[in-house]
Symmetry: C2
Subunit: 355 residues, 2 copies
Amino acid sequence: MSYKQILYNTTPAPAIDPSLSGKGTFRVNTVPRPSNVPADKLLVRVHYLSLDPAMRQWLTAKRSYIAPVELGAVMRGQSIAQVVAVGSDLGSKFKTGDWVVAYSGWQEYAVLGAKEVEKVAIPAGGRPTDAMSVLGVTGLTAYFGMTEVGQLRPGDTVVVSGAAGATGMVAGQIAKIKGAKRVVGLAGSPDKCEFLVKELGFDAAINYKDPNWRKQLKEATPEYIDVFFDNTGGEILDACLARAARDARFAICGAISQYNSAKPQGPTNFMNVISHRITMKGFIVFDFAKKYPAALQELASWLSQGKLKRKEHIVPGGLEGAPKALVDLYAGVNTGKMMVEVAPISEAVGAKAKL
Amino acid sequence: MSYKQILYNTTPAPAIDPSLSGKGTFRVNTVPRPSNVPADKLLVRVHYLSLDPAMRQWLTAKRSYIAPVELGAVMRGQSIAQVVAVGSDLGSKFKTGDWVVAYSGWQEYAVLGAKEVEKVAIPAGGRPTDAMSVLGVTGLTAYFGMTEVGQLRPGDTVVVSGAAGATGMVAGQIAKIKGAKRVVGLAGSPDKCEFLVKELGFDAAINYKDPNWRKQLKEATPEYIDVFFDNTGGEILDACLARAARDARFAICGAISQYNSAKPQGPTNFMNVISHRITMKGFIVFDFAKKYPAALQELASWLSQGKLKRKEHIVPGGLEGAPKALVDLYAGVNTGKMMVEVAPISEAVGAKAKL
């Protein structure tokens, strides 16, 4: 028995080449599936891979918050996986059929230590993939970015870029739940904008591909911007600097517009930082790890009460679709959390959880 | 009797034209000197004008922390002035010969209300011009920028740009006094760098006009940068973003390299804000007004103990030298606080203070 992995093959220059033909950014590798699991390990089967904007940065050999993926290694990534075999030392903690969030990387199976997985506790009304999305790193990023970094206060005007993306849509909803006066989303299509306003309750949404988007942003923020939750950087960040209220907080979560750029664009309205006393703060969700439990409890309660809505964009077709899906993520094809279905839920062991 | 004023004449496009011939940014105006001072006013004679990097921004009609100067109005500015006549209602508060920090603008005399002046209390070893420099807005900007905005902690590595300028040189000295492990200044000539290290006790100083300055900055910050006090923006800000330590604080005080630019340059290394969790915070010293008294006391005590050194760059020749001096300020001609001598101290009323 064997299984497939996707390895990091060549450095993007700077765009990711999703071709698996040999010269692309990634290549496929096939390895034997172990028949015996070591005593201190688990064998998990990957069902859903998480695709995240940060991935492009992991392919860059630059001083950063995490070491880059090495050429020839399995591509790094989180997944929702199911335990299919348990090493003899771990029998008290895990059993076959358990769902876990796994630091598996891009492969169909993985042999992992107990610290490389987190058991998924599925709350009422929840599903395993939530643990990678609204009740996982994505939701936590939105939560801490809006509360701790953005220092959201009731009555604030909030703008979220990449608002139809996995993190942005949660960030905007949290702002509403926590008392923002006005939440405005920026997204890349009329459909996404409609979704934000009609389904998620944003006060306004602006399609940044519309030639008049700057004017619309101005009209949508009559009292300027108190909190900007930025996932995109580039021109949108610049436009929000121009609309910043005094003492505005800019939570810098991502810069998806710049990741694939050979020459990143700095915010030319940077001097507004001084005149409007703006605080721009970058963050990485891991820094808030000690506060995860309380945040997850709050997120889960909003989810079960229907105050917080989730949305997934699942790419079918198996592991080999991951490179193309990653390129699509940067192109903004998704609304909501982008995942690749490596193995459908119907193939899961038992019927422990419904997706 | 009459006196001269300098009025804002034409909008810079974008560079300031110091010519007073008619088409320049400023023009001279002559007005009669009042023989009777209104009951609620003072007549002051201006001795020293303060020249400040922020002035260029005051000539730009853009939403900012302060309204722009209107065309045809006296150019805005602080000065050290002496009271030469006191209105009848103000006799209990002021007397002829008092030294004041005056919001006089660029003119030889000014008729001002009591709220437009602050009496100078000259501490032991002090001189009136200190109230506009190390014991005035300049020193306070350095103080709050380093402590409240930069959140300096003992053991930090600190970098200051525009370090030989009025604010920068105080900021760097405060960092040393407050326990920084290492203070590195960036300045625009070998002489300035020598001054910073030999006279002010900076650990290192780098001439940013040297082709190898980036390499020197790297070598001077082996443990990266915890606090960056930025007066310049542009390429220096970018280089410091590349050298930021995790959780670095960037106190954004000014952007003198960008003020006269038609197309400001944004920091292209902006994405480091995320990976290194940098906080960039712009500030205006007036926001800390409630804390001025305690800060001034601390600054004055350091000054009298010789821990804090001052340096002035006084441009002689009278009021009409102010426009050219302002251009020189942006060219970095000065080491220390740039002032224009409108009237020498020898012409002061009485002999109350020595300069």
